[in-house]
Symmetry: C2
Subunit: 237 residues, 2 copies
């Protein structure tokens, strides 16, 4: 049944890259260089990320016209900076901080695992991140994608069906020729309902120590792998 | 002025890959295996390619709804097979032949040149080929694109402005941060009118021996390079 899979479609934030650790590290460096004191940057990262789903929901619902993730991130950043009483950043500095999402570090297994998986499969991003974000992240981190797909080319944010279906269509593949690789059960549930196969790769520290959500699969997904190297093993790469 | 260029956007058919030689070779192999006699496969390739612009014009004009290039190629192939009186191919064989465009061979300088250019620039396709065609071609030939853009994601065929502008927009770049790399003056003229920079790389045997068109630049484009290695030299890669 998995023999028919030709493309692996990847969730990115959390599954491929460690957004929380990366934002925390960059925030701490910014605080040192700008003499910002008293900010818990892991909490800052969590607060910024907490606004992610509600802001996308504005777009999904049609209350806000199509807006790429860079611009949603910026509106959310302005709010989080206010909430954390962080002042004294210039517009170029705020813009640079907003683009920290273009500079997220991958989990340690990612580059080696993707390099193996690429020999056998088409590797596509299927992320809510916009194309420029994905391209810049990949250049910096050495992520060997074959193609950047997902929300911006579909003009629909996951878990809306169009995000998955348009990505498969652009690959010239049926959904059952694609396998979603993600650390989030909700992503798998949406993709599976459309016919995608599913490889669950938990990232149990994505949300920091004590994470309760998504540490185990909610259903018996096709593949359960510890990390991307284990995924390559299980898929015979 | 060229210092601001962050992405190279590539025409593909003719500029990156040798469609005429590739189709000729595959046609000759097909003829041997299927006992097809008396076909001049270079002429067959030329005839197939000659229907390319008129069929895209049907879409550009709105007379035909958006149709991806694989499907335009197939309609044109059915006609060329009739015109060359080629019979006896099964539906899977015709479909396979139609996908010869996914299996075109690059010019000899391409992989080495792109590999050098990729260190300094974002490498994007900006082709009229559909995404699956570009992805499959790149996997087979080892073309190290960072991102697949162009007609299908823009839903507009070059030289329509949307094809170029949407590609730059998806990269998060202004047109003058992009440089079109192409062997065709008409492509450069359309891109340049929108603010793109231009690198002309002639492919003087694209149309076979005795080619008269596009052997020299029609204007003083920013860069004139003999091939992709020369382009990498000239761009300091």
């Amino acid at each position: 049944m998995l023999d028919q899979v030709k493309a692996l479609t990847f969730d990115v934030f959390g599954t491929v890259v460690d957004w929380r650790g990366s934002i925390t590290r960059e925030g701490e460096a910014l605080a040192r260089s700008k003499n910002i004191h008293g900010v818990d940057w892991a909490k800052f990262a969590d607060a910024w990320r907490a606004l992610y789903q509600p802001m996308m929901q504005e777009v999904r619902s049609g209350r806000r016209p199509w807006t790429k993730l860079d611009d949603l991130h910026r509106m959310n950043l302005d709010r989080v900076l206010r909430d954390f009483s962080i002042t004294g950043l210039s517009e170029p500095e705020i813009d640079h901080l907003n683009r920290v999402w273009h500079r997220l570090d991958p989990w340690p297994d990612v580059v080696a695992g993707l390099t193996r998986l690429k020999r056998k499969y088409i590797l596509a991003t299927l992320s809510n991140g916009n194309v420029a974000l994905m391209v810049n992240m990949a250049k910096r981190a050495g992520l060997p994608w074959d193609v950047i797909l997902g929300a911006e080319v579909a003009r629909a944010y996951k878990p809306q069906p169009e995000a998955y279906l348009r990505s498969a269509e652009l690959l010239g593949l049926r959904p059952d020729e694609c396998m979603m690789v993600a650390a989030h059960n909700s992503d798998h549930e949406a993709a599976n309902a459309l016919g995608f196969h599913n490889a669950f790769v938990p990232r149990p520290t994505e949300y920091g120590p004590g994470q309760a959500k998504d540490v185990t699969p909610s259903r018996a997904w096709d593949v359960l792998a510890k990390d991307f190297n284990d995924l390559a093993d299980r898929l015979g790469c």
